[in-house]
Amino acid sequence: MASVSKPLSEQPAREQPATRLMKGLRRNALPYILLLPLVVILISFLAIPFISLIYYSLQRTELGVGNVFVGLANFNILLHESRFAANLTATLVYLAGVLVLSVPMAYFAAVLISSNRRGVGGIRTIFLIPWVLAPVVTALLFRTMLDPQSGPITIAMSWLLGHPFYLTLSEEGSRLLIVLHSAWRSFPLEMLLIAAGITSIPQELYEAAKVDGAGLWQQFRRITLPLTRIPLFSAVLLISVYTVQDAEGVYALTQGGPGYGTEVTGVRLFKEAFLYFNIGFASSIGIALITLSVLVIVIYFRILGQGEKA
């Protein structure tokens, strides 16, 4: 037996590199063929457009003249523009507001739906509904509730406060409105991810903690919170990225107003691209938005990496 297997194992070493490559390709051809449609589509409709995006961002659309190459002028304008500074501020306020409201609510709901009580399944289903509805639709529902004249919330709040209450007319109010709407939409996904983390914690840990005399708060702080760190992290990352990029929810609610108070970066891009057809300028905002998203992703992985070391 040994004499038969020896020449077989030596065989590849004797082959010419070219034949080995051909053999490897033939053996590997199937996965490449299977992947071909995906790769062709992603290169032609994502990679090449991305390169065009960079190219267009260096141009200005001028009426009658067409596109003129202007170098980095668009970015120069953006960086010195007070409106773009307002866009970035609105984006950060939006992101912070959504996280502050939705994460504790999601955590609370996740703990509730992770128990084995009867009826929990039905509650979980209802809790998930906001997330399956289109942002434009939920924005419309929120507008209806908060209309200055006919909104039930407006009427109830005016009655409670004793003076007229118009959320959509002030900058702070409008910002609160887009945050409330987005937190309402975002908490189900966060809840789902966190709940999956909670249910994977072995029950014995809690029993051992109870034997050691740990209270509910202690159990939460020492077991639940540290062991759901990763799902919590992915939930916060996903929602942060979506919130930073959001255009449709905000546009449908406030169109960016009053003034530029709620004009987040996505809404600005939406307006420049699809309402004013400023292709060059819109492209430079597109690159800014991609940079912003990458920044968020990098920051989160930095934080996760540091947590791992500690």
Binding site: L30, L35, Y56
Partner: protein, 266 residues
């Protein structure tokens, strides 16, 4: 002690239920009453807003939404299935680049839409439903492929290997063994893609300018700016837009939830 705890928990449940259900209840109520009636439970119901909606050509928008959702899934699922299978079952040089599929869904689609508008013009499909289906497929593919790869990885390799030893080709193994075993996962991917495609308005808004080519959410966005205070009409449209994904979700929610969790944890 435990009693106060449960009181607290149930108060929390009721509070969140109220926050979720009230906007939807109010939308339904508004769509069924005359504008200006503000009673919490209206005395008289009317279908006038729905009549007005459909008289205004809303049926075309629903039809567009259906065509685009079905079109997107028809192209996305086979391509994602082939690629997901290749990534789960074969080792080949360059495979590590597949991590790109995880990052792509995190980047803003809206940014690439700007050059894509000019692309669609060049292809001659700007202002047609084809461009919306194409964009829907392009942006659904990375996530769907990654999810299908996960499902394929979770079914044991041994069954397929046994079939391969028995002389079954890899393509036949895919169709007669891997696909049936991964069926629950494939269904959840399909449902996720359908709901996302139905809810998306960005592609329709970017690539079509005529109202008769728009999908339901894009038409609703138009109502917001054009109709002003006609909340009855707008909410009738919202109810129509909500129903398909809601019914779909309620029927298939178990698969849907499993799919999301499998896709996000791997």
């Amino acid at each position: 002690m435990t009693r106060t705890r449960w009181m607290f928990a149930w108060f929390g449940v009721l509070f969140i239920l109220l926050i979720i259900v009230f906007p939807m209840y109010w939308g339904l109520r508004t769509s069924l009453t005359e504008n200006g009636v503000l009673d919490f439970v209206p005395g008289r119901l009317t279908l006038m807003h729905y009549d007005g909606l459909f008289a205004g050509g809303f049926l075309t928008n629903i039809q567009n939404s259906l065509i685009i959702s079905m079109g997107t899934i028809t192209f996305t699922l086979p391509i994602a299935l082939m690629s997901g299978y290749a990534l789960a079952r074969f080792d080949f040089p360059g495979k590590r680049f597949s991590a790109v599929l995880l990052v792509l869904p995190l980047l803003p689609a809206i940014a690439v839409l700007v050059p894509l508008i000019l692309y669609m013009r060049g292809l001659g499909i700007y202002n047609t439903l084809y461009s919306v289906i194409l964009a829907g497929t392009v942006f659904a593919l990375p996530y769907c492929t990654w999810m299908i790869r996960g499902f394929m990885l979770s079914i044991p390799r041994e069954i397929e290997e046994a079939a391969l030893i028995d002389g079954c080709g890899p393509i036949k193994a895919l169709f007669s063994i891997a696909i049936p075993l991964a069926a629950p996962g494939l269904i959840s991917v399909a449902i996720f893609t359908l709901i996302s495609a139905w809810n998306n308005y960005l592609f329709s808004f970017a690539f079509t300018t005529k109202r008769e080519l728009q999908v339901v959410p894009a038409a609703l966005l138009g109502f917001i700016t054009a109709w002003g205070n006609n909340y009855g009409g707008m909410n009738a449209g919202a109810v129509v837009a909500i129903l398909p994904p809601l019914i779909f979700f309620l029927i298939f929610q178990k698969w849907f939830i499993q799919g999301i969790l499998a896709g996000s944890s791997k």
